[in-house]
């Protein structure tokens, strides 16, 4: 076994040179092509989870806010009128361009956009009062590194609000959900469970509580169209949904037209005042 594995290791760089694309590059390719779809996506513009995020933290109006994985900026723009200024960071330049356009359209002047990586943020320690991240965390290859960075850039006593689709938790549904997510979007990393997210945030030093959980109905046609999923992959997803075991059909509330529902959670983490 050993020589074979070593052989595989030795060949890996060559394979990567031919076809290898890392997750962050994949995110940029994937979202570069469909950025405009996200500027108008009802799932992203509205949602009870976004309202809950706005209600989950009391702002005075002078806070420094970071929106990590801002996409087309919906969360940044929602928080901007309640804060001093917002920095909106994303890997994808076309997504940020859409965000900047939306900010201009709405006359919002206190949001600044920057390309950046949540695992290696370009901000000093203790820069922000609040960090938000919505529908982005499932793209992060190293969530523990990202959580540590969010803790680093938050002031002591600062808050992180994390909203994302989560795996319902049972292994069969977890595997199923992440499989169809990956078929839809090659840059998908993982819909973690609430328990996993709590652990990741706890380990980064946050005191965590759950703001709430809401079902998000994903209308099948718009879900795949928004991402520009190629038809063969769409057919594979339909086929998986048709053949899904009862437990999975129930957990995801799969409908006749392949629409389904996933839980969206909002977690709040507070960075303790005292250094640990």
């Amino acid at each position: 076994m050993c020589p074979t594995r070593r052989g595989a290791e030795a060949r890996r760089p060559e394979i990567e040179a031919e076809v290898g694309v890392d997750v962050k590059e994949s995110v940029q390719r994937q979202f570069g092509a469909v950025a405009a779809n996200y500027a108008t996506s009802a799932v992203h513009v509205h949602g009870p989870d976004l309202a809950a995020m706005l209600g989950a933290v009391a702002l005075r109006g002078d806070e420094a806010v970071l929106d990590a994985g801002t996409g087309t900026g919906h969360t940044a723009l929602a928080f901007a009128p309640r804060a001093g200024h917002v920095v909106a960071v994303d890997l994808s330049e076309p997504m940020l361009e859409q965000g900047r356009r939306l900010a201009a359209e709405r006359g919002i002047a206190n949001v600044a956009f920057a390309r950046g990586d949540v695992e290696r943020l370009a901000f000093p320690d203790a820069s922000f009062d609040l960090v938000t991240s919505r529908f982005a965390a499932h793209h992060v290859p190293r969530p523990r590194a990202a959580a540590a960075e969010l803790a680093r850039v938050l002031k002591p006593g600062g808050t992180v609000l994390l909203a994302d689709v989560v795996s319902p938790g049972d292994p069969a549904t977890d595997t199923f959900l992440n499989a169809i997510e990956l078929l839809r979007d090659p840059s998908h990393v993982r819909d973690h469970s609430v328990l996993e997210w709590r652990g990741i945030l706890n380990d980064a030093g946050f005191v965590v509580d759950e703001v709430g959980t809401w079902p998000l109905r994903l209308e099948f046609a718009s879900w795949v169209t928004r991402m520009g999923t190629p038809e063969p992959s769409v057919a594979q997803i339909r086929s998986l949904l048709d053949a899904a075991p009862t437990e999975v059909r129930t957990a995801l509330a799969v409908e006749a037209d392949h629409s389904f529902s996933v839980p969206v959670v909002v977690l709040r983490g507070v960075r303790p005042q005292l250094a640990r």
Binding site: D22, H85, V87, E97, A103, R115, D117, R120, A122, P124
Partner: protein
């Protein structure tokens, strides 16, 4: 702010509040603005400003 994709550039269009807090994502040291680039005063890495949006991404191998 109301135009996109034109050639307005850099120091005039990068948000001053953002410019004031940005640091090198690798070593978190101060940056020096020159034209359309931000250069780390410690390690010398260069970050371009593209249409007013600073690109603070780094190559994974660096």
């Amino acid at each position: 702010m109301t135009t996109t994709g034109n050639d307005h550039t850099t120091a005039e269009t990068i948000d001053p509040g953002l410019l004031a807090i940005l640091v090198c994502p690798i070593d978190k040291q101060a940056l020096r603005l020159a034209g359309a680039t931000l250069t780390c005063t410690a390690c010398g890495r260069v970050y371009p400003i593209e249409d007013g949006i600073p690109n603070m991404l780094v190559d994974e191998e660096s």
